[in-house]
Amino acid sequence: MSRKEYNAEVYAAVIDGALCIMGCIVVFALAISAADAAAFSSAAAHAASRQNLIAALNAA
């Protein structure tokens, strides 16, 4: 597998995961417990972290 093909596969996996998190967090936002509030913010930060990884892969 070439570096380009590897990056394409990682890219697909990462963006799928980030989008899944983003889709779910709208549901989290309805909850009012401290645990869910913190989990929601954690999911948002994870999505941001993954987006940066995607950008890095695209630039590679």
Binding site: A29, L30, I32, A34, D36, A37, A48, N58
Partner: protein, 212 residues
Amino acid sequence: MTTILTRNYDTLVAEVKAHVAADAIIPGAYWNPSDNEVGGTGCFISCLTHSDDPAPAFERFGLTEPLLRIAESIFEALPIAEATAFFAALPAAVACDGKDLSRVHWHFLAAELRALPAQTDDVKAAIDRVTVGMDLLAKGQEWPEAAAARAARAASSAARAANAAYVARAAAYAAYAANAAADYANAYDAIKRQRDTLLQLIADAPVVGVGA
């Protein structure tokens, strides 16, 4: 990440109008072919793409995948008449070609973090770190991956600690159950707020080109 601006606005207006007129907007399922005027029925994303894949809506109209995933979640939580109205309101929010929607989801997440109810100091500190990052991304600035990952871990730890606190105090269960019931009653208001927030953010997104 490549930025694609909104495009084919007139087609978006026509297609949304046709799907609404055909009563094709059906929450709870991806595209289901039929012999109606638009060839089938389906949810928010599938009425734009005739599939379960949001990517064609990005390529044809410049509607980003995160934006569509969030829209789909809101859409699925609304009663059918309001879900249809939400879908029908999309073109008016987009308004034109050449609009950059690439940061709408970060604005939305920042707004939702700020809409969370008051928390303990530890949880609030963890959430505030993420809100700062969302604000950076919403402004088109960098939030380094390492900083985002640290904020995610801190928030995750706060979630575990808060959850453990509930487990340790049986009385909290009763309080949480009462709060959860109240939250369920307020869920409809929250979804309507999210719908309005998303449409407003789409409307307010900057027009930066011709959308070619």
